[in-house]
Symmetry: C2
Subunit: 406 residues, 2 copies
């Protein structure tokens, strides 16, 4: 297959591109390299030294003889360029990772809120619009998030996208319907993925586009089979308070002897998936495209759920680290249960990598290797969901004063 | 109250501004005058000769001694200007009409789809974002559409925004929840109003913004009490295939001896409201603001439902016109029922103006007076929902060849 990977320079995009190239697909990365620009803006960098996309692609070719093509396109702004590219190349599938993906970054300031909404909505809509305009029947796979479901305890299992409900009809009878799960996103970032759902629903219904939406849990780990092959193929690995995600951050914090930062009670239950499973899931979804005219296919791309404080305690035990209990910069339920259905990927043959079998120590090893690159001042999560909450997020666990936006 | 009317130069915005000014409120119109630019783009004009917003405001002042202030701001693009204006003026309420509002225009081409999505989403988000940023607790009233509910027969009444459903819990019991009505918009335009709903839900939940969303039916009529006071205060009145709406179009078509254009079987059932009731409803909503922390208040702003072919037959009987049965350029159910709850406005004292009591002939009179301004070539609806449907929309009822975009 010829596959366009939008946002193929990012944390999941890059290993996905390598994985698909390794499977023999012709891979084209379209990316505006915004993650690298945001690193520059925030004054942070990937814990792992990350080469340019051109250099990474060159190394991949030298190692495997396979080419990964790179095209610098801003999908949110350059609609005509995107359309021309798709019309000329006519890929069989388009995998869409090209959105600003950090909840804390999206809540940093009004500028960051606007950027996230405008970038994510316009990027997604431009892709859909172009596919219709050039009459390209490519399978569109989008990386969504478990966060669109919201994180409040509802006493029911989270289904894969569609919820069966009973509605009272005019005659007083109950009628069963399947509806798109009522969305309750908890940040501007998560909200943009809810907006995406509505865009997908419309384009599947009006234009028969074939769309798969992957509601992914929190990704942990850093290596996949392909990134291990050469030092310069290494994946990016974020430890900062905006882009670092919870389990990976605990492992890095442990590696650099920084307190494990638990926000609030740590009673938040979240869904997780290892990066290796993440790229496998994308491949499984690719091979299981919906038919033209079918509704959007939604997968829950996660393999297990954990409570944040349990993870912190597990990592503390494993590494001898200590936990810092901090005010929660997010506006969210202090405690929630989370039961998630994920039969579809298991039925397609996914064999989950779980925490217990563990690649936890591998992550700690990677973090230790590059610990000299860590700026400890960038570790705390400082982006607050409201101004009132912001007043509570004053000091990092080492006593430094904090500012959300510098 | 000091009230900002965003999009106050438009078809509902202008009479609303007059009505509120007449009630003694301090009215500020913020508008980029995009409707006038779109007229220019499409080569059409309001059937009624419409003066500049500055001239209209001058006439209003001369007639009543009251001022309506005008500020040329592009809400979708000029976030910083909007924010500064709101911070300086700190209005008590913000009424948001500032979106591209024609479904056919939104489906005309990829450019029009992108414009509608980008303009509407960014305008709405900029307003929400600015209110939070400057900590302004103004009541935000947004003009939505009945179209977010979708137009398929579901056998249940359309509630005002929130649908009670039964969900099966883990223990097998049913649990009652009220959810935001599962949206099923039928055009890019309607879709943007569904996106707005998600934005409103988030900002009410995260930031406690006080928001009212008015799901309006199809507006008919042209005059309100205030627009009648002076020839230059007249409202705009659209007859073209993109911006003209169904009942008004029938009345204009009858006035100029053009066949009444019914698309498909005419079995579509739609909700209607007279422009005079529309501005009254906005006022009623204004005085009934939700409290801080409450969920978004949703009203169904409509007073009656009718099947399109019944309206055509009624107008044909009234005026002696004939009906042209044309292919439907929209992708929609050929026939649908529509039962809509609208208790909230009735409870607040709305006394609906219905078709039977009729202001129908007034509309025909206005249309006849300005019939010399009609370009008959602009009457047909030519914007098709898909390329396949577009092939069917070939000729107007008078035999002219049609093109969607010139």
């Amino acid at each position: 297959m010829k596959i366009a990977v939008l946002g193929g320079d990012g944390f999941v995009g890059w290993p996905t591109s390598l994985h698909l190239s390794d499977q023999g697909h012709e891979v084209h990365i379209l990316d505006n390299l915004s993650r690298r620009w945001i690193d520059t803006e925030l004054g942070v960098q990937s814990l792992t030294p990350m080469d340019s996309i051109q250099e990474r692609s060159r190394v991949w070719h030298a190692e495997t003889g396979r080419r990964i093509h790179f095209h610098l396109i801003d999908l949110a702004k350059d609609y005509e360029i995107l359309k021309s590219w798709l019309a000329a190349e006519r890929p069989d599938a388009v995998i869409h990772f090209a959105e600003q993906r950090a909840a804390p970054y999206s809540m940093k300031s009004d500028r960051h809120k606007n950027y996230t909404v405008s970038n994510n909505v316009n990027a997604t809509h431009n892709v859909l619009n172009a596919l219709v305009e050039i009459e390209l029947d490519a399978h569109l796979i989008h990386l969504g998030t478990m966060g669109v479901y919201g994180y409040s305890t509802i006493g029911a299992a989270i289904p894969e996208g569609y919820l069966p409900v009973d509605i009272e009809t005019l005659s007083g009878e109950k009628k069963r319907q399947e509806i798109l799960y009522p969305t309750r996103p908890g940040s501007i970032y998560h909200m943009t993925k809810s907006l995406d759902q509505i865009l997908f629903q419309f384009y599947a219904q009006n234009d028969g586009l074939r769309i798969t939406d992957l509601h992914q849990g929190i990704v942990w780990g850093t290596h996949t089979e392909q990134t291990r092959r050469h030092a310069q193929l290494i994946n990016r690995f974020d430890y900062d308070g905006d882009y670092g995600t919870v389990l990976n951050r605990f492992l890095i914090q442990a590696a650099i002897d920084y307190p494990l930062t638990v926000h609030g009670t740590g009673g938040q239950t979240r869904a997780f998936i290892h990066i290796q499973d993440s790229v496998r899931c994308v491949e499984l979804a690719l091979l299981d495209a919906p038919k033209r005219g079918e509704r959007v296919k939604v997968f829950n791309q996660m393999t297990e759920t954990h409570r944040v404080r349990d993870l912190a305690e597990m990592v503390a035990t494993l590494t001898g680290g200590r936990i810092a209990w901090l005010p929660n910069p997010r506006k969210e339920a202090a405690e929630n249960d989370l039961i998630v259905e994920n039969r579809q990927f298991l039925d397609l043959g996914l064999q989950p990598i779980t925490l217990a079998e563990g690649l936890l120590s591998e992550v700690v090893e990677v973090a230790k290797k590059f610990a000299y690159r860590v700026d400890r001042a960038r570790v705390p999560a400082v982006s607050a969901w409201t101004r009132e909450i912001g007043k509570l997020v004053e000091r990092d666990p080492e006593g430094r004063a904090l500012r959300s936006v510098s």
